[in-house]
Amino acid sequence: MTLIHIKINGESVTVAAHSSVAAALAGRPNRLSVGETAPRAAFCGMGVCFECRVTIDGQSQQRACQVLVREGMEILCDA
C-alpha cells in the first residue's frame, strides 16, 4: 500500500494513496456550524451536503469528500 504524507492543521498524518481528504479526516470535525456552536464533519460522503468543507493548499470551501489526497497536501479545518 502506497502511503501519502499530508498535514491536517499543521499536524503530519500518513494515509493510504487514493484516499479522499474526508477519509483522511476520519470523522474529525472540520468546521463549526453557522452559529459557530457545533462541530460538523463529513455527512453525505458524495459531494452533496457541503458539510465537509475545508481549506486545501490555500483554497477555501473545498469539499473534502470529492478531493483525493496528494503528497504534501495541507488541509486546514476550522474546528
Binding site: V15, A16, H18, S19, S20, A22, A23, A24, A26, G27, R28, P29, S33, V34, G35, A38, P39, R40, A41, A42, F43, C44, G45, M46, G47, V48, C49, F50, E51, R53, G58, Q59, S60, Q61, C65, Q66, V67, L68
Partner: protein, 414 residues
C-alpha cells in the same frame, strides 16, 4: 475561459453514463464525459474498472472532479474544476447524473460520526479506516444491506441493521424478487454474508447521542426503545434523483423523476436522460438505459427500440422498491423543535414549522440558501411539511465568481 466542443456530452460517469459512452465511442463518436467525482464509476456502484478501460480512448475527453455549473446558452454547458472554468458546446447531451440519498433530520443527526448510509459506504470506499469500529446502519431500502457488506469487508463491526419498513413489507418485496433473478441471487448472497448481523424491521433511529461526537444511538422498534453505543451511525432513507441540472435545461419532470419516452428522450430536443434520474432502480436499470440512449444517439433507432422492451421489468423493479420501502409516518415526525433541519444555515424545525411553504421558509429563515442549495433540506421539508421545491435557478452548483464572470481563473483567491 477554456472553450471545448464535443459531439456527445455525458454528465455523470456512473453505470448509465459509462454504458452510453462505450456505445458512442465504439461507433467512433467523440464523447466528453463529465463527473464531479475524482474517478469514474459512480457513487454507489464504483465500477472503476469500466471507467478505467475507457479512459485512454482517443475520442474520449474524461473530465473528472468537474462540476456542471450552468447551461448558459443552447447546446452549451459551463463547467468548473480546480483548473478553472470551461465552456463545453455539444450536439447531444445525456444526463446521467444519478441520485443522492434522502437524508432526514432526527435529534443528533448533525453530530460528527453520523453519516448517510450510502455516504458511509462512499467514505469507506474512498479510504476511511473503520477497522474494529462499531457501526449501526439504519434507514430504508436495499442500500442498507450493501452498505453493511462494504463496512464488514472493511473490518467494521456492524452491530445493528435497522429498516424502517415493516417485516410484512420487506417480505413481500423479497417474495417478488424471483421476477429479477439477478437481484434474487444478489439478495441471497447478501443474506448469507450478513447472517451474523442483526437485521431489525419496523425499526428506526430515534436520536443520535453524544456531546461533540456520536457516542450512542437510540433506536425505536415498535413500542420499545433501546440504546446502543457505537462509533458510526449511517442513516439513509433511499435515493432521490438529482434533478437540478435537468430542470435548469428545461426538461420536464414528473413525480420527482425526469420524464423520458421509451428511448430515453427528455422533453428537450437533443437532451437524453438515463439511470436513477428517470426513477430509482439501481445499476441494472441504469446500464440498460445508458445503452438505449447510446444506441439512439448513434442513430441505431431500431436497436434502441428493441432494447427498450427490456426496460419494463426494471421499471417494475423500481416501482416495487418505491412501494415496499415507502416511509412510515413516524419517520417524518422525528425532529423536535430544536432539531436542525437546514444544516448549512442552522435552521431548526421549530422555526420552519411556523412557515407555510418552501418559499416562505427561504425568505424568513434562509432555509435552503446555503451552499448545498437545498439539496438536503429541500427533500427533508418535502417529507416533513409536504412543501414542493420545484424551482431551480442558476448556478445549479456553487461556483467561483471567476467562473460565472467568464474570466479565466488567473489569480488564486487568498
Amino acid at each position: 475561459m477554456r472553450e471545448l466542443a464535443t459531439e456527445l456530452a455525458i454528465v455523470g460517469a456512473g453505470p448509465a453514463g459509462l454504458a452510453a459512452a462505450e456505445i458512442a465511442l465504439r461507433h467512433g463518436m467523440p464523447v466528453c464525459l463529465i463527473d464531479d467525482n475524482p474517478a469514474p464509476g459512480g457513487q454507489i456502484w464504483r465500477g472503476g474498472q469500466a471507467g478505467a478501460a475507457m479512459a485512454g480512448h482517443p475520442k474520449l475527453r474524461l473530465l473528472t472532479a468537474t462540476r456542471v455549473v450552468a447551461a448558459p446558452a443552447p447546446n452549451c454547458l459551463l463547467l468548473e474544476s480546480a483548473d478553472g472554468a470551461s465552456q463545453l458546446s455539444y450536439h447531444r447531451l445525456l444526463l446521467a447524473n444519478g441520485a443522492r440519498e434522502r437524508l432526514l433530520p432526527f435529534p443528533g443527526w448533525t453530530l460528527p460520526g453520523v453519516t448517510g448510509a450510502g455516504g458511509l459506504q462512499a467514505l469507506v470506499k474512498s479510504g476511511l479506516d473503520v477497522r474494529g469500529k462499531k457501526v449501526i446502519i439504519a434507514g430504508s431500502g436495499p442500500l442498507l444491506l450493501a452498505t453493511a457488506l462494504s463496512l464488514k469487508a472493511a473490518g467494521a463491526q456492524v452491530i445493528q441493521l435497522a429498516e424502517q419498513a415493516s417485516l410484512a413489507s420487506v417480505s413481500r418485496f423479497a417474495l417478488h424478487l424471483w421476477h429479477w433473478p439477478g437481484k434474487l441471487t444478489q439478495a441471497l448472497m447478501l443474506g448469507w454474508q450478513l447472517q451474523q448481523v442483526p437485521y431489525a424491521m419496523n425499526t428506526h433511529v430515534r436520536a443520535a447521542l453524544g456531546n461533540d461526537r456520536l457516542q450512542a444511538v437510540r433506536l425505536r422498534r415498535g413500542d420499545e426503545e433501546i440504546e446502543l453505543a457505537c462509533d458510526w451511525l449511517a442513516v439513509g432513507y433511499g435515493l432521490l434523483p438529482n434533478l437540478e441540472l435537468a430542470r435548469a435545461l428545461g426538461c420536464k419532470t414528473h413525480h420527482g423523476v425526469v420524464e423520458v419516452d421509451h428511448v430515453m428522450r427528455t422533453s428537450r430536443r437533443d437532451v437524453f436522460a438515463a439511470g436513477e434520474l428517470t426513477g430509482i432502480g439501481g445499476v441494472d436499470k441504469a446500464q440498460l438505459e445508458g445503452r438505449i440512449a447510446g444506441l439512439l444517439i448513434i442513430g441505431e433507432y431500431d436497436r434502441a427500440v428493441a432494447l427498450a422492451k427490456r426496460r419494463r421489468r426494471w421499471l417494475r423493479f423500481a416501482a416495487a422498491l418505491e412501494q415496499h420501502f415507502s416511509l412510515q409516518p413516524a419517520i417524518a415526525q422525528l425532529a423536535s423543535a430544536d432539531t436542525v433541519v437546514c444544516r448549512c444555515e442552522d435552521v431548526r424545525f421549530g422555526r420552519l414549522a411556523k412557515c407555510g411553504s418552501w418559499r416562505e421558509a427561504k425568505l424568513h429563515t434562509r432555509c435552503g440558501m446555503g451552499p448545498c442549495q437545498g439539496r438536503l433540506c429541500g427533500a427533508a421539508c418535502e417529507t416533513l411539511f409536504g412543501w414542493q421545491n420545484a424551482g431551480s435557478r442558476p448556478p445549479v452548483f456553487p461556483a467561483r465568481l471567476d467562473t460565472l464572470a467568464g474570466n479565466p481563473s488567473t489569480a488564486e483567491v487568498t
